[in-house]
């Protein structure tokens, strides 16, 4: 989450997407959250858990490269019930929606105002491995901010 680039929006670093997306996820009930959660050699930009619904969410933040984001999002399906890509609104418009839908990956557009809009709803899938999922939830419970 350190790359800086010109996206033609106020967002030039992926890290700038974190706060708006974290607030959005919290509003949706994913109150237990952590950023940069390790998953093998990767780091999940935002991982959350809704204890009420017993559902986890993983979000990959990207400024522009949606295809790379999709590859990572698909990996995170191993440990999360719902997986989203979050991008600046301008970049989100260029995403191939069909590919995301086919893979049950959701899309969040981050507006210039800092508000977020759910463009595609992530769907639950069969890739999740309970061992990974429960380990991440345990980690969240021990370390995350609520």
């Amino acid at each position: 989450m350190t790359k800086s680039q010109n996206t033609g929006t106020r967002f030039s670093r992926e890290s700038q997407l974190l706060d708006p997306v974290a607030r959005f996820a919290k509003l949706k009930g994913f109150c237990l959250q952590t950023a940069e959660l390790p998953f093998y050699e990767y780091r999940i930009d935002l991982y959350g858990f809704s204890s009420e619904r017993n559902v986890t969410i993983a979000v990959e933040l990207k400024l522009a490269d949606w295809r790379r984001a999709l590859d990572q999002a698909m990996l995170y399906q191993l440990c999360s019930d719902l997986v989203y890509i979050a991008m600046p609104e301008k970049s989100a418009k260029k995403v191939n929606m069909t590919e995301l839908r086919d893979n049950r990956v959701g899309l969040i557009a981050v507006l210039e105002s800092g508000a977020c809009s759910c463009v595609i709803k992530a769907l639950e899938h069969d890739e999740v491995r309970e061992c990974y999922r429960s380990a991440q939830i345990d980690f969240l419970k021990d370390n995350a901010s609520a």
Binding site: Y40, E41, Y42, M74, L75, R129
Partner: protein, 456 residues
């Protein structure tokens, strides 16, 4: 076009890797050790070689690493440097203030330069790389070759003789399988001179050693591979030297990322040289192994991959994760990428995995009846309480390395028994099979390899 039974030589990069070599050497064809490592740990290296030889008469090779005393390309700027800085490190100042350090030559290279003598020792004294003018006379070239060849032939015995307990076994230590002529990196800005210099070193070495076969290392920038004019010149020079073998090392040439033109050139080099001498790839992968069908005699690589090598290592990078090697794809991927591919490949049980991905001893033991145990190849932890990043556990890295070595053995056996057409067809079909998985973006090498292997 000779069809050879390819050899795989393991390169010992550090003594921490000796366990891998000791436990798997029975499957391979020898071990190669850098002379800098030999100088850093002479006793341990000599004992290891002795032990390996005792186990199955596996031959050993000593890479004299003479290129380290020449000019080099700065990996960060791409500029040529003659200050030998890359063989220096920060070292404690004896008698200095607490924590005081100075940048000085690593003791292993310093010892090596003394063992080799002129012009290597002088280069270190003046802190300027060996250049063509240092070796401008026949006498100077002959002297340098003699000392580098003698070093390889006698160093291990001398290590044993200097040790009271080991001395009685000194004569039982075999000589290295071959002696390498001294060699320098052929960088593009001074290619002509360096080709000339390497030619002179090759000629002198082959003339001097009669007992043990002499091999030449061609260590060059990647551009030379596809430079028709220079390639022809070098190939002519190599044939002129009449060595028993040549070891190709094109810096930064990674067979997985190489273009079709580069791979085609590699094949051409092998076809040109193989009728006259044994051809090895100093840091090769499956592609080079497959080239045994057109004359490649073998490859060398490390125990944790090392299937390509830059002449000057990039310093300051964190320890890379040892990834999981997929034999059918002939390359490595991160554990979750493989795991996420299971559904697309129809892998639901451990039996499915063993039949479709790998059934080596390591995989059988780790996975057993529980497919989820595959995760153990990628286990991570925080190595210290203050670590900011989780890293692969040493145990997971070990599993990946042993799995890789067993699979390399299987690949060698496969190549020995398959035809070139079968190997190419295999690359093609497995690429199609895995194209529906998450690795689809990282299997382009298979299609390129297939094309180059198929071409006649």
């Amino acid at each position: 076009m000779p069809d050879l039974s390819p050899q795989v030589i393991l390169r010992l990069g550090a003594h921490s890797e000796k366990e891998y070599i000791e436990k798997t050497i029975q499957y391979f064809d020898g071990v190669i050790v850098g002379a800098n490592l030999l100088e850093a740990t002479p006793g341990a290296t000599a004992s290891l070689v002795f032990k390996l030889y005792g186990k199955g008469k596996r031959p050993y090779f000593i890479d004299p690493m003479t290129y380290a005393f020449g000019a080099y390309e700065d990996p960060s700027s791409g500029e040529m440097r003659t200050d030998l800085d890359w063989i220096k490190s920060e070292q404690k100042v004896r008698g200095g203030k607490k924590g005081e350090t100075k940048r000085d030559f690593k003791s292993s290279y310093r010892k090596l330069s003394i063992a080799f003598g002129t012009p290597f020792s002088e280069a270190l004294e003046r802190a300027v790389a060996v250049n063509e003018s240092d070796l401008s006379t026949e006498r100077a070239v002959d002297g340098a070759c003699k000392s580098v060849l003698d070093y390889q032939e006698t160093r291990l015995q001398r290590v044993f003789r200097e040790d009271k307990e080991a001395a009685p076994f000194a004569d039982d230590l075999p000589s290295p399988a071959v002696l390498f002529a001294p060699y320098f990196y052929i960088e593009k800005t001074h290619a002509e001179e360096l080709i000339r210099l390497n030619h002179a070193l090759g000629l002198s070495s082959t003339r001097q050693s009669k007992k043990i076969p002499v091999h030449i290392v061609l260590c060059a920038n990647r551009g030379l591979l596809t430079d028709a004019r220079l390639s022809n010149r070098v190939i002519g020079n190599l044939k002129d030297c009449t060595p028993a073998g040549v070891w190709l090392w094109f810096s930064r040439f990674d067979e997985h990322l190489a273009s079709k033109d580069e791979l085609t050139a590699m094949r051409w080099w092998v076809e040109q040289l193989a009728p006259s001498m044994a051809v090895f790839n100093m840091h090769g992968s499956f592609f080079s192994l497959a080239l045994s069908k057109v004359g490649m005699s073998g490859i060398a690589h490390g125990v944790g991959y090392g299937e390509q090598k830059n002449v000057v290592p990039v310093i300051g990078q964190s320890t890379p994760t040892v990834q999981y090697y997929v034999r059918s794809l002939h390359t490595k991927y991160s554990v979750p990428i493989i795991e996420r591919s299971f559904s697309a490949l129809g892998i639901e049980t451990s039996d499915d995995f063993l039949s479709k991905v790998c059934d080596c001893l390591v995989c059988r033991e780790i996975i057993g009846p529980n497919l989820n145990a595959f995760a153990q190849f990628g286990e991570i932890h925080y190595s210290t309480p203050i670590s900011k990043r989780a890293a692969q556990t040493p145990a997971a890295a070990k599993r990946c390395r042993f799995h890789y070595l067993l699979n390399r053995f299987k690949e060698r056996e496969y190549v020995r028994n398959a035809s070139l057409a079968d190997i190419a067809k295999g690359c093609d079909s497995v690429a199609d099979e895995w194209s529906k998985t998450l690795v689809s973006g990282e299997i382009a090498h298979l299609k390129r390899w297939a094309k180059v292997l198929k071409s006649s």
